[in-house]
């Protein structure tokens, strides 16, 4: 029984971290209908920045988060303004290809700069855990879980209560109409992508703190997780990524207990497909976002 509780507890904190990875991806997809293939590469870029700050200047990863966020926001803003805006009106899959090319550039650039070795940000506390009965809860992932919750709530509030949030939402709903209202769509899109890149960077920093990362395989894995979770949770709802992350985290953790470890990926995919067949727009997503796409 304690194994069951341990698996569930670990699934929750893992789910929080996965939610954090997906929230930026879901924002870009929901608002701009852009599937950002380079989301994982942006996250790993953030991880490297935090890693350098830790190695060179001994900065704790949690303190490095603001620096990473600002750096990634700027990088994201420039990418959108200079590049992705050029193909926004093209058929949807063009943005996918553009970000795929971008992913290759960033990924190989990092590999040439930092070699492909695995890195981690070594902290004294991240891997420690405190026990409640037989269940161990790791500090690092728990902190990432709370961070994910905090960021998602902040994002939801920003979207619903601030002028910027409304501008982003409006541009997402109908770009033409939004521009008629005087919203500078190019700027808003760039800000949105900037925010998403910053969120990716923060997620990357957390991944670096609780686990290890490298420039070749981690980006692809994070992008796939973000893709699955955004769809599982459903688009158009700020809490979609968090819900999707938690469901996936718990499903994988409990699934790993019942079947051997190698079935974990199959379980994640089974959960995704069953959810989509029953609720084509995701657990708590809005139907409008599911169907508005064509090649």
């Amino acid at each position: 029984m304690s194994q069951f509780l341990q698996a569930a507890a670990y699934g929750v904190v893992q789910g929080g971290l996965l939610g954090l990875v997906a929230v930026g991806f879901s924002l870009v997809w929901g608002i701009m209908n852009v599937v950002n293939f380079s989301h994982g590469a942006l996250a790993v870029t953030g991880a490297y920045i935090a890693w350098i700050l830790n190695i060179r200047f001994g900065v704790d990863p949690f303190l490095a988060i603001p620096v990473v966020a600002v750096a990634l926001f700027a990088f994201g803003y420039v990418l959108q303004r200079g590049l992705i805006n050029l193909v926004i009106n093209a058929p949807i899959f063009l943005t996918l290809l553009l970000t795929f090319g971008l992913n290759l550039v960033i990924l190989n650039g990092l590999q040439l700069l930092f070699t492909a070795d695995d890195r981690t940000i070594d902290t004294s506390y991240a891997s420690q855990s405190f026990a409640i009965g037989a269940v161990n809860v790791p500090y690092g992932r728990l902190a990432a879980c709370f961070l994910a919750l905090g960021i998602t709530v902040a994002l939801a509030l920003m979207m619903s209560r601030t002028r910027l949030g409304h501008a982003i939402g409006a541009t997402g709903m109908d770009r033409g109409a939004a521009r008629l209202m005087g919203i500078r769509a190019r700027h808003i899109y760039a800000v949105t992508f900037g925010i998403a890149a910053a969120l990716a960077g923060v997620a990357g920093t957390m991944i670096a703190t609780v686990g290890s990362f490298n420039p070749t395989t981690t980006p692809g894995q994070l992008t796939l997780d973000a893709f699955v979770i955004s769809v599982l949770g459903g688009l158009g709802n700020m809490y979609g990524a968090l819900v999707g992350g938690l469901v996936l985290g718990i499903a994988e953790s409990l699934g790993g207990l019942l079947l051997t470890g190698t079935w974990v990926n199959a379980i994640a995919m089974a959960v995704l497909i069953i959810t989509l067949v029953i609720r084509p727009s995701g657990l708590i997503g809005k139907a409008m976002y599911g169907g508005r796409v064509e090649v």
């Binding site: 805006n85 971008l102 089974a270 995704l272 497909i273 067949v277 796409v293």
Partner: protein
């Protein structure tokens, strides 16, 4: 008040003169209007040239061109479901892997000849396409893409865990040496021919479908499913058949690929980058046309091989940069850009960019 239908011009039009009533296949042959038969001639010319080329190729390129033919077939197959029908599947590699493993398991465990295993592999691919197609083809856009990606990852994990049959993570080997080889190994020239024929068949199938009644139904489904339903197109059947035809070609390619590789692991033949490459080749070439995916496949495969051979550790970075540039400058696809530019005599790339920017 109601009148018997008069024999006015309208009635005559609407009744329609009695027309030949062969089955659907009948009109596949007569469907191409004579006006544009030059693509057929061009197709045979290229096919013949490739055959001739085999004898006098520069050393080292036979295997390179074989992989170009493989990607031409895969790109055309993806084009049928992603380009024409507008359902961009991210799971085509599932059929590739299933085709490969069907052949490998039959030849290794049951000592079946390749020529018997090949049709079985195609059937397995088609069956899997129908089984996952019926539920998943109700989804649209990115949701369909992610669901099919999930199906492909799922298929790989199932094969990965059926260790007793497929050897799972330990990989599988097709016996090709000495007596216990059920079918003698084709060798490099053999596979050159096999993949050339496969590429030619897939281009022919795509071309035939494009102009046929079924082809128009696929485009109608792509443009607007409600309108397609209103004119009597069974959208579900059209989508599932398009998915199955695409799966058949991909499974067939997987079968030949398995026999060529002899030894492989699940991660090799269920590698998601196959699907991504198929998508890139079709979309950059120009989806929804026959020449687009062809040009995309040949161009990109030669480019990536050229970069890999000459640029060493920078090759993937440059490849990514080139994809970005091509997407920015030719958002509608290179072939369609060239076709429109040729028709309108405006070759300016900058206007092309301006047309799509925000």
């Amino acid at each position: 008040m109601t009148q018997k239908p008069s024999a006015g011009p309208v009635a005559e039009v609407l009744q329609g003169r009695s027309r030949s009533t062969q089955g659907m296949f009948g009109d596949w042959i007569r469907s191409r209007t004579p006006a544009n038969s030059w693509p057929v001639v061009a197709g045979f010319a290229v096919f013949a040239a490739m055959l001739g080329l085999q004898q006098l190729i520069v050393p080292g390129t036979q295997r390179l061109l074989t992989s170009v033919f493989l990607f031409v077939a895969l790109a055309q197959a993806w084009n049928i479901i992603g380009g024409y029908t507008g359902y961009a599947s991210f799971g085509q590699v599932a059929f590739f892997g299933l085709g490969a493993y069907t052949v490998a398991v039959l030849m290794n465990n049951y000592h079946v000849s390749f020529w018997v295993a090949l049709p079985v592999a195609v059937v397995v691919g088609v069956l899997f396409a129908v089984v996952i197609g019926v539920p998943l083809l109700r989804l649209r856009g990115h949701y369909f893409a992610i669901a099919t990606l999930g199906a492909a990852e799922g298929a790989r994990e199932v094969v990965n865990n059926m260790t007793s049959v497929t050897g799972g993570g330990g990989g599988i080997t097709i016996p090709t040496f000495g007596s216990e080889a059920p079918t003698p190994y084709f060798g490099k020239p053999g596979f050159y021919l096999a993949f050339l024929v496969l590429a030619a068949v897939s281009v022919a199938v795509a071309a035939l479908i494009a102009r046929s009644r079924f082809g128009y139904a696929m485009v109608a489904v792509h443009e607007d499913e409600d309108a397609a339903g209103a004119v009597g197109i069974n959208t579900t059947v059209v989508k599932v058949i398009a998915f199955a035809v695409s799966a058949a070609i991909v499974a067939c390619a997987g079968a030949f690929y398995a026999f060529q590789q002899i030894e492989f692991y699940p991660t090799d033949v269920f590698d998601a980058s196959f699907t991504v490459l198929m998508v890139i080749m079709v979309v950059i070439g120009g989806s929804g046309s026959v020449v687009g995916p062809l040009a995309g496949a040949v161009g990109l495969e030669l480019l990536s091989q050229f970069l890999r051979v000459n640029l060493g550790s920078f090759n993937q970075l440059i490849f990514g940069a080139i994809i970005v540039l091509v997407v920015v400058f030719f958002p509608q696809g290179v072939v369609i850009y060239l076709r429109d530019a040729w028709r309108t005599r405006q070759f300016s790339i900058l206007d092309n960019v301006r047309r799509y920017r925000l």
